[in-house]
Symmetry: C2
Subunit: 272 residues, 2 copies
């Protein structure tokens, strides 16, 4: 039998590694050789500290098939601080590329930053029924995995070109919102079940042509788009925008390549 | 001031979210309002339970700039069980695709599986000096992030084609090992510092042409390849193999598309 202090370390580790997963009291009781009443007291401590630390809470599910579920959350203080730092980091004029694009690969290359972005979206979408996270290759991939790991659902990757390792695929053509070019998107037939509730995640949205393309491709699978999250949205595209119901963490404004100026502000995630 | 039970939950959460990061005793002491001697006792408990649970240990760094560092590890029992399950899952004949390829997108789409694969590689490479993890788009990306998150280093993504959002790039041509076709690889100039120690991660290796291509591209940055990890290696390629020093988790043998047969066994990770 484990002591309380030992159990708390083991249970904290277990719960963090299994977000959104229903864990029964008998499971913990057996695993750590403790009475269910002791486990209940342990879980009350974990719950309280998770709330105090702003990383989420334990939801209790009652009944015979009941237990607890770790729901990841982020405190408002923490998320605002995190996004403020991200905005500052991105406002560096040396990031401005020809065409008014912004170099973000280093930011998206930091696994800790990516995990935090995933936690923010997962916290926002944790009340929505989501069966899978869909993104399009390649920059959205790490963000999609970060969100999916907190929601405990699989990731499905839409490609620009078919590949032999995908097996049979469904493809669509769509018009890119900003460049007005015809592009292709491809998704493995085996990847989605009929009628799944999906969350679309991407790194960047201008007019929204790419996300609209994903939505059209998902229609071929009768999937229901339950949520859309983009790390960064470009301003100045509001009249041309073809996607309405999305959540953005940051907004990139006034990219002025000639004068090497740029403004990055909080996205609509923080508007409510 | 927090009670011991409360501190253990908070510290466990903090350490798991900050692997390979040196945390000083005064940091914890201040954060949780406890004497350094109490914090030391807490850390001893966390260390013991992490070892018992097979998820790693806390390394003590002495001296003025000292503290503790959570080093992720995986117990042999756990890693063998995990890989056995993975092999079983992949041996399903319905995964065989034309050309003897194997459908693995669903396995690689499971964030929990991907995180475990990352933990295995990170555990094996935790004694090697690694500054960044490099992969090539697209299937290696989630694995690279999983490894990097446990090693606390950035991810750098080699692309097949230049993209405006990468800024200036360095590119090379190389000959694919199996198809003998000339292919291109591109890496953003800003992505790597001179002389960095990198770990290459990819999902699949046949003769090793792709990984050899990455190695050649990295030479342009005077980077040092400190480790190579591939999830799956194909057998039957041993005589043509152009990469020697790699670690594989699984080996795919005898893919027989005509008779719908396939064998998947443990990789060289388990050979020592």
């Amino acid at each position: 039998m484990m002591k309380r202090s030992d159990r708390l370390v083991a249970m904290t580790n277990y719960l963090i590694e299994h977000p959104m997963e229903l864990v029964s009291l008998p499971f913990f009781s057996e695993k750590y050789g403790a009475a269910k009443s002791s486990i209940s007291e342990d879980l009350a401590i974990v719950h309280r500290i998770f709330e105090e630390e702003g990383v989420g809470y334990l939801a209790s599910v009652s009944g015979a098939a009941g237990g607890v579920k770790y729901i990841p959350k982020v405190s408002a203080t923490y998320s605002e601080k995190f996004i403020d730092e991200l905005c500052n980091q991105l406002e560096d004029p040396s990031r401005i590329l020809p065409g008014g694009y912004l170099f973000m690969s280093d930011v998206l290359g930091n696994p800790h930053t990516v995990r935090n972005i995933g936690r923010l979206f997962a916290a926002r979408f944790s009340d929505v029924k989501i069966d899978s996270v869909v993104t399009v290759a390649t920059k959205g991939i790490p963000l999609a995995y970060a969100v999916a790991s907190f929601l405990d659902v699989p990731v499905i990757i839409v490609r620009r070109d078919p590949k032999v390792t995908e097996g049979s695929t469904v493809s669509i053509n769509y018009v890119s919102g900003s460049s007005r070019k015809i592009q292709t998107m491809v998704l493995s037939k085996r990847s989605l079940q009929e009628g799944e509730n999906v969350c679309i995640i991407d790194d960047f949205m201008k007019a929204g042509g790419t996300i609209n393309g994903i939505k059209n491709l998902l229609k071929e699978f009768n999937a229901n788009v339950a949520a859309i999250g983009v790390l960064a949205e470009a301003e100045d595209e509001e009249e041309d925008r073809v996607v309405e119901d999305y959540t953005s963490l940051i907004q990139i404004k006034n990219v002025d390549a000639n004068n090497q100026q740029i403004e990055v502000i909080k996205g609509n995630y923080f508007h409510e």
